[in-house]
Amino acid sequence: MIKQLQTIGLSKEEAKIYLAVLALGKCNLPELCEQSDYDKNVVEQQINNLKQKGLLKIELENKRLMFVAEKPNKLFDLTELKQKEKISVMPRLDFITKEMLESPNVCFLDSDKIINLWNKEIKKEKTNEVFFMGRGVWFKKLFSKKLEGFLIKVNFLCLDKQDYNNTKVNFNKLEKRSLLLPGFKLSLGFLDGRIFCFKSGKNERSFIIDDRVLASGMKAVFFLLWEQAEKIS
């Protein structure tokens, strides 16, 4: 697909970013960086190019820039070889992204990407203690032996009896407790001001909420339930 888009006049980077925006629907800059595997500077430049080509829209939502792909049939306009007026969005983008760092953000990701990011965050931050609640299936995916050296303790609150067997993993620094909440399908991990929300279903997109205050509040929910939960060996 990227090669085909290149043949109609998009660069490789533009094609990758365009497909990422198309797949994400409305998205923000961090989300686009994660989805496309490019850093912020590259993504900003390509957004600028795609906007000039009329392939995406930029919307302002409460001081946040959101990017929305135009319908794919807009690509036909590119074949007409029109000279487009150059409109730079970069100064506004730079201004807004500084504020975005301080504001809550939500970033939707594919399962593979969110697992990579989870591992990367744990290794980068050398997080002392991790809090995780939800499904054993996700627990198994997220806590590989490789992470043991980076964590002092893992607190796992198992909420689903059906996949309890998946929690029987060989992970040294683990404390498990069980509190059954039937119907609990999402799994939540808390890491340094971020809430990782893991979804299991096909075509379901996991997401990260980047908000220190909410993460702290959700940890408070975790602790309250932890007190009620039963310790399991």
């Binding site: 697909m1 006049g9 994400l24 946040r64 792909a69 794919p72 929300c197 997401f207 909420i209 908000d211």
Partner: protein, 250 residues
């Protein structure tokens, strides 16, 4: 179509057109002659000649160590235009082939969970979000709020409107002491209104969260973060009910 317009339609800019037309009139000529005829400096003319050569509209010939230029015959424009039309047709053909796949990616994205941001310190945006909440018509609306942080936003009319539209309203009231704000006393008798207390010392929660249907409204530090995701709303709803079991009656 006038020649100058035809040149522009081929993607040439004004200066390139002028250089081409000057060369066409001069015939076999040097860059200095073109520069004089087109009334441009030599360096600029060089740049445009380079572009015109790459488009097949001019050619260069070296003679006795000196380079001379020749504009291609105007009929060549027709050939170039035909080539460009073929290229457009080829690109359209490629696009037609990949369009169904692109459309399917686009349609999946349209249905994905969404996130919106509002400011509750902006009266207009606060009113807009409240109106949306009042119109949710959820079977059950769940609310967690830190009384000290959000007491200024208690609005009896807003609560009345919510109660008109929802099946049941449950609120977890987080405060240091078990004292219910007097503005909420009137609602205690309402059949749809349920409120319980959680001590702030036990439960340090600094946001306000409202869950209705598949929407989650999260207020904190001046912002509303609105997440439209059925599974996330369902998850928070389950956590709410677990906390409800722990919370105390007023």
């Amino acid at each position: 179509m006038a020649l100058s317009q035809e040149l522009l339609s081929l993607g040439l800019n004004n200066k390139e057109s002028e250089v081409y037309l000057a060369a066409l009139q001069l015939g076999y000529c040097s860059v200095q002659e073109i520069a004089k005829k087109a009334n441009m400096n030599r360096t600029t003319v060089y740049t445009h000649i380079k572009n015109l050569i790459s488009r097949g509209l001019m050619s260069a010939v070296e003679k006795a160590g000196k380079v001379f230029y020749l504009a291609e015959r105007p009929e060549k424009l027709k050939y170039i235009q035909e080539q460009q039309e073929k290229e457009v047709a080829r690109r359209k053909n490629i696009l037609q082939k990949i369009m169904p796949e692109l459309e399917s990616i686009y349609n999946v994205a349209k249905n994905r969970p969404s996130v919106r941001y509002f400011s509750y310190e902006n009266p207009q945006e606060l009113a807009q979000v409240r109106k949306e909440i009042q119109e949710l018509r959820a079977d059950e609306m769940l609310n967690i709020f830190n009384y000290d942080l959000y007491k200024d936003y208690i609005d009896k009319k807003h609560i009345e409107k919510i109660l008109d539209m929802v099946g049941e309203f449950k609120a977890l009231y987080i405060s240091p002491g078990k004292i219910l704000d007097s503005r909420l006393h009137d609602f205690l008798e309402h059949e749809k209104f349920n409120i319980k207390f959680l001590s702030e010392t036990r439960f340090d929660f600094l946001n306000e969260i409202l869950i209705g249907d598949k929407q989650v409204y999260i207020a904190g530090r001046g912002d509303w973060l609105i997440i439209n995701d059925r599974l996330f709303a369902q998850t928070l709803s389950l956590l709410f009910h677990a906390l409800w079991g722990i919370a105390e009656e007023f």
